[in-house]
Symmetry: C2
Subunit: 208 residues, 2 copies
């Protein structure tokens, strides 16, 4: 015998949102990465970065050193923190608010993908370089593969992330960045964080 | 006889998202409203605002006049546009990015609701005033009641609004502001707009 109530209940359950997965928030203010050549040009030959503060992701650090970044409107975003260690490229990650101020329209990219990056000038105490380096960082979550499995996200490369509260919203297109060294953490730029009223250490929810 | 497939299809249809309703975007950069007393203190006795540009909402205009706004960190947000005509209160609407720069934590409020507004100093060419005036504007949609009815939103005071694209997201808690004089338009501050990569004239979608 058919039980319509049961059928309806099962369909409703199948379509209803499932409980989400909590992830801690790291807000990424504008910052840059440099290669050794860039570091030398800005700070002097064979320069080495000094650790200002260890970051949450193992091995990453905020350096004591900062630069200014100048764009086509000839205005400077000053005191942009360098994140270490040095990498294979020169890159500055800006929020769109910063980009409008500088007069650039940087593409949304994974860190290290500089396709279409905008030209800006980096200024350090010993020199300056003009490089195709300006991007906006894609929203992403750092996660180890065991955690990906535990959360039931195997095979996904993007997820949706819900934030509650008066300034609540759901972010689309949050990329999963998977590496065994990663601690689980969502990285958002200051525009995304400020739109949703988030600060470092807050928790958001991956939607199923 | 019961048709399970039909029952399932009907329930699925009932729960599925319906096509949304398109709304044009107005991005509100930081701006202020003044009462006549405030205008007089900042610009001189019996001062009258001059129209710089008519706004989309009938009667509203951006004035030629601008002020600086200073907060507890003693830094100024300069050249903040006054929107006219004069109102019954003094108010500055900031994005959270601006608020962090100034060192205030303004509450999210409808325009004109200054409960808990932060103290800031307004500086004009003829004087300054310190007032509890800083808020962040709640996300809202201007709409005439006929349009509310046409869109099937009668009785709702908040809606969800979807934005597509790489920086896509869904805003929660978008308030409906209904008045016969209003043209349909969603107002977002620069943090919300930049997080979602929106500009004036773009279109977003009210979710059913």
């Amino acid at each position: 015998m058919l039980d319509i109530d049961r059928i309806v209940a099962e369909v409703v359950d199948k379509l209803a949102p499932k409980p989400g997965l909590a992830v801690p928030v790291g807000v990424s203010a504008r910052h840059c990465h440099l290669n050794q050549e860039g570091l030398d040009a800005l700070f002097g030959p064979d320069y080495e970065l000094n650790v200002y503060r260890e970051l949450y992701q193992p091995g990453a650090f905020a350096a004591e050193e900062m630069i200014s970044v100048v764009g086509p409107r000839l205005r400077a975003v000053e005191r942009v923190r360098i994140l270490g260690p040095t990498r294979g490229y020169n890159q500055v990650e800006l929020a769109r608010t910063d980009a409008i101020y500088l007069g650039v329209q940087p593409p949304v990219r994974d860190s290290g993908d500089l396709a279409g990056a905008n030209a800006v000038t980096f200024i350090g105490p010993k020199g300056s370089i003009t490089v195709n380096a300006a991007i906006r960082a894609a929203r992403h979550i750092h996660m180890a593969s065991a955690e990906v499995a535990r959360m039931g996200l195997v095979g996904k490369d993007r997820v949706r992330v819900y934030v509650g509260g008066e300034k609540g919203l759901t972010f689309e297109n949050v990329r999963l960045k998977i590496d065994e060294s990663y601690l689980t953490e969502i990285h958002l730029d200051t525009d995304d964080a400020n739109a949703a009223e988030l600060a470092c250490g807050d928790t958001v929810t991956i939607l199923p």
